[in-house]
């Protein structure tokens, strides 16, 4: 069994060689690993590798193919790359601007101000809208010189993380 996994900005090939109870043998790129792994509770794995004890927290985000993982010292963004993900990446590579000209919300919150209107010209750095969450207002500014195509939210809306807010041309 083999899978490609994107971890932060790096893609590794993981090949499971053997699994017997807690014991797992796997090849990652060119390295062979033999580990003792148990799940302590939801998300939480204990690993012993060459005597070293590690705790890895493996939380799903948005879908079953994306994780944020945390060790005691670091955080990792992880994506399982299957055929669907590969196709998407390919499309993006061929058409680099396709997905970048939309403004999505990195977090949930409330829209407290929309500073532009449809068809309005916007410059790099121009204020598009203000989102409030946890008593802090965050300004979203344009990364392009462009024109507003569509505004998909209204003042006062409660938005969730990843929601489309504004499309630019």
């Amino acid at each position: 069994m083999e899978l490609e996994i994107k971890i932060n900005n790096r893609v590794v090939k993981v090949k499971l060689l053997k699994r017997e109870g807690n014991f797992v043998k796997a090849q990652i790129n060119d390295n062979i690993y033999e580990i003792d792994i148990v799940k302590i509770c939801e998300n939480n794995y204990s690993i012993i590798h060459q005597g070293k004890s590690h705790v890895i927290d493996m939380a799903h985000i948005s879908n079953t193919k994306k994780y944020t993982a945390a060790t005691y010292f670091n955080n990792y963004d992880i994506e399982i790359i299957d055929a669907q993900a590969k196709a998407k990446a390919l499309r993006k590579a061929n058409n680099p601007e396709e997905e970048t000209k939309i403004i999505t919300s990195p977090m949930s919150g409330n829209i407290v101000k929309i500073a532009v209107s449809p068809e309005q010209e916007v410059k790099i750095g121009q204020l598009l809208l203000i989102v409030e969450a946890m008593k802090m207002q965050t300004e979203y500014r344009s990364a392009f010189n462009s024109r507003v195509k569509k505004i998909t939210v209204q003042n006062g809306d409660t938005i969730s993380a990843g929601q489309l807010l504004i499309e630019l041309y």
Partner: protein, 502 residues
């Protein structure tokens, strides 16, 4: 002398729970109030009674005075503790309680109003010979007045909400060009946070220390201080690490500033717990900054080195008891540091990170106190403060305290949201912090250390990838299993010895 039997806690989050803990130790019943967003919150479960007071936005619930007062009456609470934030520094609310014959656990409406309005407070302090920062206390009628006032102080200038606190409604202005926009932003924030958009401006003291003194005063004129807290480590003008004693404090300065703090409190006939905040410059000159007429977020470090439970003292003072502690009897025993755990992304301009807690493990052991309120499965609401817990650590020496804080932060695991834990670990490992050589410029000065990309230890990254694969394949496997047999109960992970070959 009245004996309080039941207290309504007009707050939420960690501070509501912390207050209820002291109530329980005193044998006083506690009443929680909650918004629609907080039905599952810990303070609702911890309290003896709990009542819904409105929808999620604070204005409709935790700031809804009439609803809170009617709930107090309905539940026969004889006192209200406001915590910090929300209505804690609202003199109208304190007055309404008084009118309704409900004990407000805090100072008099007069003290709140006087100290709450930064302009009046400055005048009062000047009168009481307490040193203040050079600044303009007028209310500004138009932009021109504003611009001219700023010119007389000379830049840099700090814009502040007169009703402010917690960094809200504050803006630093370095030149005239930024002035009007900054004022507008500060006003807008102040209006939202305090329903009052009056602002004032002050000379901005470059890289000062932010040091505050804890005050306790009873209703008979007995006023004492419980030493200082060093609060210079701030991001977005909000404290993130506090410690006591301050690394720059001398015995002489402590005595002098302590006396000044007591005088400042006496100037408004203060009773209850309160905090006098000072700016201290590089030459150890100090200036009155403001008085917080309430419990402070960082009060636990004072509790830890003095042994005094400040919430209990507040309650005792509120029921007309005399202070049974004298200034001479209080000692600073050892060292304490507090780290604030925020739900935020420290690497992305400290942007809030609301969401659902998928796993939590809180630190424990000798010298560690963790005041939090979130549990596994809890969804942090977007409507309120991003602070989800406070980690307070004590040690015999400052060095032991830092080492213990590093250990406690290592143990602290929260997943599902981003938190300030890793950022705090970096602070604890910064040489400037370890040597106690820092001021309010600390984060800016150490940004290369604090915002450095984490370096992956050994081949941990590949182990993480492998774990992800196992979790993913097991997850898929489980879905397939479920579709085969609904009532299967065994966890895949418990079947030791089951063999897979690939």
């Amino acid at each position: 002398m009245k004996k309080i039997k039941k207290i309504l806690v007009a707050n939420r989050g960690e501070i509501a729970v912390r207050i209820m803990r002291s109530c329980r130790e005193l044998g006083i019943l506690s009443v929680a109030v909650f918004s629609d967003a907080d039905r599952t919150a810990m303070h609702v479960r911890y309290a003896d009674e709990a009542y819904n007071i409105g929808t999620a936005p604070s204005a409709d619930s935790y700031l809804n005075m009439e609803k809170i007062i009617s709930t107090a009456k309905k539940s026969f609470a004889d006192a209200i503790h406001p915590g910090y934030g929300f209505l804690s520094e609202n003199s109208t609310f304190a007055k309404r309680c008084e009118d309704e014959n409900i004990i407000f656990i805090g100072p008099s409406p007069f003290a709140i109003a006087t100290m709450g309005d930064k302009i009046t407070a400055r005048l009062k302090m000047i009168e009481a010979k307490v040193p203040v920062v050079p600044g303009i206390q007028n209310q500004f009628k138009n932009p021109q007045e504003l611009i001219e006032a700023a010119r007389t102080i000379t830049y840099p200038i700090m814009i502040k909400a007169t009703a402010g606190g917690g960094g809200k409604g504050m803006r630093l202005v370095r030149d005239e060009q930024q002035l009007l926009e900054a004022v507008e932003m500060a006003k807008s924030e102040a209006l939202k946070a305090f329903a009052n958009d009056t602002i004032y401006m002050e000379k901005y003291i470059e890289n000062p220390h932010h040091i505050e003194f804890q005050i306790l005063a009873d209703k008979y004129g007995n006023t004492i201080h419980l030493f200082e807290r060093e609060c210079s480590i701030q991001r977005r003008h909000q404290k993130i690490v506090e410690e006591t004693p301050s690394p720059i404090m001398t015995s002489e300065l402590r005595i002098k500033m302590g006396e000044t703090a007591v005088n400042a409190a006496k100037a408004v006939n203060y009773h209850g717990a309160g905090t006098i905040e000072f700016l201290v410059d590089q030459n150890l000159n100090y200036y009155f900054l403001e008085m917080n007429t309430r419990l402070q977020v960082e009060h636990p470090i004072t509790e830890r080195v003095t042994g005094i439970d400040l919430v209990k003292e507040q309650i005792k003072i509120a029921q007309d008891e005399k202070l049974d502690i004298t200034q001479d009897a209080i000692k600073q025993n050892g060292h304490a540091i507090e780290c604030r755990i925020y739900a935020e992304d420290s690497d992305n301009n400290f942007m809030p990170s609301p969401g659902k807690i998928t796993f939590i493990q809180e630190p424990m052991g000798f010298g560690v106190r963790c005041d939090g309120y979130v549990n596994k499965g809890y969804e942090i609401p977007i409507h309120y403060d991003p602070m989800i817990s406070k980690l307070i650590v004590w040690g015999k020496t400052r060095n032991e305290t830092i080492a213990r804080m590093q250990r406690a932060l290592y143990e602290y695991k929260i997943s599902g949201i981003k938190t300030s834990i890793i950022f705090l670990e970096k602070i604890m490992n910064t040489p400037d912090f370890i040597e106690g050589k820092y001021d309010t410029n600390f984060i800016e000065k150490n940004k290369e250390i604090l915002f450095a990309k984490n370096i992956t230890k050994e081949n941990l990254e590949e182990l993480v990838a492998l774990t992800a694969m196992l979790d993913y394949t097991d997850h898929i496997h489980k879905i397939i299993q479920k579709s085969k047999a609904v009532t299967t109960k065994k966890s895949r992970w418990k079947e030791h010895g089951r063999r897979y070959e690939f």
